[in-house]
Symmetry: C2
Subunit: 500 residues, 2 copies
């Protein structure tokens, strides 16, 4: 082949072709460079703080000025369209859907109202409005302790800084009503200085301490679960002053925690029908998640509930915390190659199989409570009832551990199923003992199942005056909440914010 210069001499058009091709290529290179520069500029611009605020600033919208993308997505936890479309709606009235729950919680506030949880956005709204916190006014106190606020707001670490941890938990729920006003948000999980993840709730740090672990030494990936584990865990209120404690001293399984509670002879309440010293499980999400395959493979909560997203050239963590099923492409499909409908079907199949036996256990527990009630009625003695009540306590604890946990039957279906199996065995064991005891008191047949096919019937059956509870609550919402809001507004005006 001839040298290119010779060829150009022979065909002059070839030179021009090369010249113009080069111009076009250089033009597009210029465009590319521009795009890169723009994105860099945007990045610098995006992370240039606009305001300065204190470490315990509770208002999400203040943090939002510096982190508009994360704030904007976080505010979308208000969106309940997915739940409405796929899960029968947000704020489902679980007691209406399943009136047996009313009987299982007879004597405990959960029998008054229990609804499907909504997004973090609603944390304050929902705790103010729910019947469980009562109608504290005109000298009446809330039936709940101040500890109940602990997971609801970044005002909590702020007040704890001011008054101390133990002092915060003390007193009834209404004590802090005007103090706690901002829903769960930025300050709960982030350090205001550097936006690092941080643990703001003492109970988690203390539980780690008691297990000889230093929470400051965990990895960033662990922190992406632990900030959630500040609240999404089993906990209880210890002693008169209702100090918040995670019952992990003996381990994380349902049996470990039960052993812990039994060793204290701790009870959450005494059952109104069976007089059982009961335990109430509180969403042991972190514990159950850790027993499942996704945790074993090194995933954190954030990997699926806050996947990475991209916007305007910025990669950041999606702060719209939600079911991964609402965002399969960026969650499941990062690892799993199946189509979205198939993956969703796989999740639902797991949940349905667990639910079948969980529902059965629920029915058995209702029967056990009612049969125990019958035994008391016939004059059974405490010594005769002791082993029976211990069985009922343990069986319902297992049921509740699964029923209360968010997503447990997906996070760890085999463990959930294992727990339900043991619950069924123990519930039935209590009923065998009850059959013998009832026979010994001359009642040798099936105790009729109560007529509780609606929430209203069930609440009436356990003796709740719902009309009064609702009327009081309505008045409280109308009269007290606006006062609390006004006080909070006045206080927040005094917080230091510096425009930069």
């Amino acid at each position: 082949m001839k040298p290119i210069s010779d060829q150009i001499k022979e065909k002059p058009w070839l030179g021009w072709a090369i010249f113009f091709s080069t111009i076009i290529v250089v033009f597009f290179l210029g465009l590319l460079a521009l795009s890169i520069i723009e994105r860099r500029t945007e990045a610098v611009f995006a992370y240039t703080p606009k305001v300065e605020y204190t470490q315990w600033e509770p208002r999400n919208e203040v943090w939002g000025q510096n982190f508009p993308r994360q704030y904007n997505r976080y505010m979308q936890t208000a969106d309940t369209s997915f739940a409405s479309k796929y899960n029968g709606g947000a704020m489902r009235d679980m007691l209406a859907e399943d009136p047996r729950l009313v009987v299982l919680w007879a004597g405990y506030a959960f029998s008054k109202e229990y609804s499907q949880g909504r997004g973090h956005y609603y944390a304050i709204n929902d705790i103010q409005n729910i019947l469980r916190t009562g109608a504290p006014m005109e000298g009446q106190k809330s039936p709940q302790p101040s500890t109940c606020w602990t997971c609801k707001s970044p005002d909590v670490p702020r007040v704890m800084q001011e008054v101390g941890i133990a002092e915060f938990y003390k007193g009834s729920w209404d004590t802090r009503g005007a103090e706690i006003m901002n829903f769960i948000g930025c300050a709960d999980c982030h350090d205001a200085q550097n936006m690092n993840l941080r643990i703001t709730r003492p109970a988690l740090v203390e539980a780690y301490d008691r297990r000889g672990l230093d929470i400051n030494k965990v990895s960033h990936q662990d922190m992406r679960s632990l900030v959630c584990a500040q609240c999404h865990v089993e906990y209880y209120f210890q002693g008169e002053d209702k100090y918040l404690v995670f019952p992990w001293d003996k381990g994380f399984t349902v049996e470990d925690v039960e052993e812990y509670y039994d060793s204290y002879t701790f009870k959450d309440w005494t059952h109104a029908i069976s007089k059982t010293p009961m335990l109430k499980a509180q969403h042991p999400d972190f514990e159950i998640f850790n027993s499942g395959i996704h945790a074993q493979r090194g995933l954190s909560c954030a990997d699926c509930h806050m996947p990475y997203m991209n916007e305007g050239g910025q990669k950041f963590t999606d702060h719209k915390i939600q079911s991964p099923l609402n965002n399969v492409a960026n969650t499941c499909q990062v690892c799993h190659r199946e189509e979205t409908p198939k993956l969703i079907a796989n999740v639902y199949e797991r949940q349905d199989k667990i639910k079948q036996n969980r529902d059965k256990l629920e029915e058995l527990l209702v029967r056990a409570h009612v049969e125990a009630g019958k035994a008391w009625e016939l004059g059974a003695k405490e010594i005769e009832m002791q082993a029976i009540l211990q069985d009922i306590r343990h069986a319902q604890w297992r049921w509740d551990f699964i029923a209360a946990s968010h997503g447990g039957s997906f996070h760890s279906p085999i463990e959930c199923s294992r727990i339900i199996s043991t619950g069924i065995d123990i519930a039935q064991e209590s009923r065998i003992k009850l059959a013998r005891l009832l026979a010994s008191y001359g009642y040798n047949k099936e105790v009729p199942y109560p007529d509780i096919d609606t929430k209203e019937k069930a609440q009436k059956y356990i003796g709740l005056d719902m009309q009064k509870l609702n009327a009081d609550k309505e008045k409280f919402i109308k009269e007290v909440i606006p006062q609390w809001k006004k006080q909070a507004e006045e206080r927040e005006k005094t917080y230091a914010i510096k425009n930069l």
Copy 2:
């Protein structure tokens, strides 16, 4: 740049360099070509048949002459080292390990002997030696029907061709003792003409037919499971003539099959203690596998139990059928990226969690049988026992469905756990009814758990004369088996084989 010819004129060494480089490249190309030719030759050589035999040739070693690699690997199903190392040994005496089984099967042959299965290599050996087939000699018949041979040998389709299907099943097990001599092998799954996979057992074809499915239209991937499903399924012996039937008419779940059996009021035997009309589950491996995630992702049995392997340049299916845990690199790790010990631990964790509640269910079933026995003893009437026995039947059916299935708690752990949960519920329900019934007969306390902590005690408890059974069997093995072998040898001499 100057033309290459001009450059060579200036630097003569450049020409030599090009010359020798070319020689070296061409030499290695030659080597590569040789290797390709050799491998092709080997392939042609490897798959050139050496002998010709009939479609129902039962002797594996005859097929092995044409397919030495597959035959060689298949013969290694004799290898029990993995089981010995990891699973407590091959031929584990399950009744000694868990004497409760003896009570669960009281009145049924399984209470005499039940051992961990070994490789296909031992199929004939083990069925001849096991106490369950008895000692048919001196005019005595085996307690088992001829149908029991169906899964044991390629002699089965051969004899079925000769005498007909229904005729084959008829009569006692010893009827065909001299006919069935070659252990499970080539002719069971392969067409002798073209080595395609084929179904040789009528029960599978008939079950498909009744469900309106044509087994000839399934894919090759499906066949890679269906050849296994000829035997690794739930089945029963229908009617007087013990016709082999797969009970799939209503579906594949434990409930579907139960409904099928109940609609016939079919029973495998009557329990010796509780007088329950019992069902015995037979390894429903295919049914349970199909409810699990690996089946849902399109895998076949062969994918994990007979993965592809490579030898002498030949890729072929590994015919050493075994636990994938013995070959993680070529099975699990084709899809899963975790280390071998971790993957094995994941499997064992699943199995352990299921086993915990399966064991519990076993204990409850022993109690139920014994309590029912007590009720009969006290004079309970049939009408009083009916619902109780139906519960015991259903509960043990669920236990057995899981206990009998090979690998079920790995293939489909959530389904297995679901089934065990329902079994526990039903077993306990029967015991609640029994507690009331016993109380009505004046026995209002716990029925003592029998002293069955060894196999010997348990077998004595249910009234088995093991000494006689063992002595008879020993005599049978010494006197009858050699005759059967001799007859088989003589017959096999007459089979047509043509050297090619």
